[in-house]
Amino acid sequence: MHSLKPVTALGGIEPRTDVFHHLSIIENDGLALASFAARRGFELECQTVLKGLLGVVPSVGKAIFNDPISGFWLGPDQWMLTAPRDSHELLADIVKNECGAAASMSEQTGAWVCFDVIGDALLAFCERICSAPIRQMQGGDTRRTSIHHLNCILIKQSAGDQIRIFGPRASADSLHHALFTTATALA
């Protein structure tokens, strides 16, 4: 076991949680991420692999929540996969073993910060932070959006009052600040 300890995207030993009476913003440090891009001529094979991993292949603008590996659509024949980091830190390698030369995998864990936002004020919160049409989104809907000039991915979780936001890790502080001040404004 190596001797280096990781820090969270916000730079802490433990992930940060901000609790308001109407909303909670939870830094989710427990995910491994890997990008999955089908290679030419192997698209069908990749669909089979993904079906095996997720149960269903996420279609355009959709996320599939599965255990242990979930995934969401990124682009034509491209998906992002997530899994618990504790058990799947080498997610990219694990999936590469499944798909071999059929897909290009890259480790993405270090590139993203993840915030889960839960609460009664969720819809009003989303309306302030980004242009995703949150009131029209169903559970599993995924949108690329911009929050505070940051390219982010917003996923409406199955539960009605929860969303997951992936943003660029290097801007975790800025993204968190945007979420926090918006939650404060709605308190």
């Binding site: 190596h2 280096l4 990781p6 820090v7 290679r39 001529g41 491209q78 480790e107 290097a170 001040t181």
Partner: protein, 983 residues
Amino acid sequence: MNQVNRLKGGQIDRSVTHRFKFDGKTFEGHQGDTLASALLANGVRLMGRSFKYHRPRGVLTAGSEEPNALVELRNGARQEPNSRATTIELFDGLLAKSQNRLGPLKYDLLAINDRFSNFLTAGFYYKTFMWPAAFWEKVYEPIIRRAAGLGSLSQLDDPDVYDKGFLYCDLLVIGAGPAGLAAALTAGRSGAEVILADEDFRMGGRLNCESLTLDDQSAPAWADDVVAELKSLPNVRVMHRTTIIGAFDHGIYGAVERISDHLIVPDLGKPRQILWRIYTKRTILATGAIERPIAFENNDRPGIMLASAIRTYANRFAVAANKKIVIFTNNDDGHRTAKDLHAMGVEVCGVIDVRADAPRSLDYEVLHGQVVDTKGRLGLKQVKIRLENGNIRSLDCGALGVSGGWNPNVHLTCHQRGRPTWRDDIAAFVPGVDLPLGMSVAGAASGIMSTTGALQSGTDAACAALSVIGIKSRAITIPQTEDAPVSIQPFWYVRGCRRAWIDLQNDVTVKDIQLSHQEGFRAVEHLKRYTTLGMATDQGKTSNMGGLAIMAELAGTSIPKAGTTIFRPPYTPTAIGVFAGRHRGQDFHPKRLTPSHKWAKEQGAAFVEVGNWMRAQWFPLAGETKWRESVDREVLAVRTSVGVCDVTTLGKIDVQGAEAAEFLNKIYCNGFAKLAVGKCRYGLMLREDGIAKDDGTAARLADDHFVVTTTTANALPVYRHMEFVRQCLFPDMDVQLISTTESWAQYAVAGPNSRALLQKIIDPFTDLSNDAFPFMSCANVTVCGGLRARLFRISFSGELAYELAVPTAYGDALIRKIIAVGAEFNVTPYGTEALGVLRIEKGHAAGNELNGTTTAQNLGMGKLVSKTKDSIGSILSERAALTAPGTLCQVGIKPLNPADPVIAGAHLMNEKGPIDAAHDQGYVTSACFSPNLGHAIAIGFLKDGDLRLGEKMRLVSPLTGIETKIEIVSAHFIDPQGERLRA
């Protein structure tokens, strides 16, 4: 004075009293008042001074179209000029000050301007302030600056926060008067997603201002019931205090919601205002109409108001504008004001109607005539009337209500260059045929002037709009209410007037319009700019119509032929802060922090912004007070032992796929197909026109897997370029691109002891000897007992150097480990300044050299452009102009006198001869002090530079008076043979 003009009734809450100050004097009003209504209630008519002539002015209107009663609201950092007293909700502790005066409002010293009105007509500044020329800067300009503008700024930072947001709906209803309420109710009951927005704090529009009934309810009560029902519907969003400021492309509207303006200060953490972008499938514009005045001699005195405003103050705010009121009108609506006032016990001294067939009254005198003059400088005292038979009569009064007709409020229909059309029957412009996408217009805004008509058109418009988007709806049952037709005789100004105002806010008179015509500025756009008619903060809401009607008459054409100017967003003045939202100060743009940022901050690093990145620039030690001390030390430390630098910010792009190598062969001008696994190669990327675009390295980790680096600044443009090539130029290639810039924390470890240091971190199964891991090698490795990592033996500094990458989450731990194990080698962290010095000493090109005009040949890399394969830019790189003799070539520059500095941006001139552009030989791109060499050095481009090594020249900067003797040398100042980096 204590609310001497209060009447019974109204929609104010008398149980809540607010104390407020205007020009230092304390008054009282009630909840539901505006500042204007409260001042009028207290008998205050004088509220400001006019822009140019500093004439005493009072409130003209009761809405956001107000041109006169502009105040500075609040004090300190929250002071806001040009706030309309008619829309300021009264709150306890409100502070307001009148504007545009020197000295007290009553005794404004600049009122002397009025005596020189003949010299201050429209466009006077085009004919004055010219002589003597020397006076302009020292005399005229300071005076004009002092006099210009309305209101003053605090010069302090706005302390309030503003939010932004995004809303979606099926139907946006703009305006909550009778048409808007009917439309919203129709749509709300159908289940459509509806947003109803109104700029007022109380919804209802004119329903709140009239004494009419709807069925057996008062108009305000009906409006309240409808609003209550709308608020109970989960699919309807009711937005009070929300101005729709503009109609933008694709059915998007901008809206400013005032969250806290009616509070003394916003609650902690709450925004003052929110800028909403509303995405709507359909829109109904139900913004009503704005009454217009008539121009006559001295028509701008305090107490002269729009007749409908007087009615509004009476019915809604329970305020009589004065105890004695006269009405001057050309249409039936003026009489409505007289009737309501009389019913409330206010003395109507007379109704002056220009029409011969004006309705008569048993309650007050109706005179056929025109108002030809007024008296009462600080407040109206008397009006002079010329009767139809030519007799002159005077009436004593304290308020005059003027009604010249109603202009449908078409602003938003014009925001995308739509032009309104003229209707003779109402003597007004109505929306034209070219409306913004998805918009329809209802009620008075469309020229339907009766309450019944407005209600009907609102519900009909909603049904039609919803039908287009496939939502079934049913029209509401319209209550019984007035349905009077419009009866109007167009009348714009009283003939023979000398000082009659058209645009009250910019002090534009009838005479100014005549002057504009006389001087040839007859097109309405010229009229506007020459006179400034309609160019004030009210955008001419009460003046545009009168101005162009007069110009039409002067030009001998019809009003529709005279045309209109274009209304533009925002509809009303909007705080810059709300456009900025949260993006100000430290939050202006997001920051990108490197994985070692926290550690670097602990070391006291100085940081520099590189795009959004915060990079450590240098690491000062105790005792170092100047940046050169730190940077020189860092540079020397790297060349003598070992340094570490966070290079995470450089772009990293994973290139995978069966044809990844072939793809790189297209992207780079040099070859990659034969690059072995485990090797790196420098790559130069050209633009299609042959100019150098970016450079970096490509490391082959497997047959089908490369990691490509870019410069920090070009990470995104290069990635974008590569995706364009992949998707559009070679869509059949099997290649996938994934950005991994932030996935990996990457550190450069450089210097003679870099290998020794890394041997303490990289797990022992990786042989780092020079034989096993020579220069330009790469490999997947593990560190610190098994953490996955990538190692690249590449060197920007020219020293023995490596770059080590670990997953980002471990970046903080790795830098600390490197520093800890490197202590025995005195490992020195170095920042971007030292990084720059090191690469200039080595002669490596960077962004300064790849400046968008240079080619591979200019960079001394002409041979790198492969002739055996096709790549982007290779053909055009061979253009004759780019390869002709005299082409620029990268060189090194050093001063003959070691003590002389060398400046980047300076130009190179021959040792003798003229110094001018015609004799320019080249320019300096990068310069620094070299602590290793003990003098300044530079890299630049010189014509035929490769043939001129050793030549003595001059380095010049004529603008800053620099001329330095220099020598042209090789750009590789340190280790030109590359022995150190191959050690």
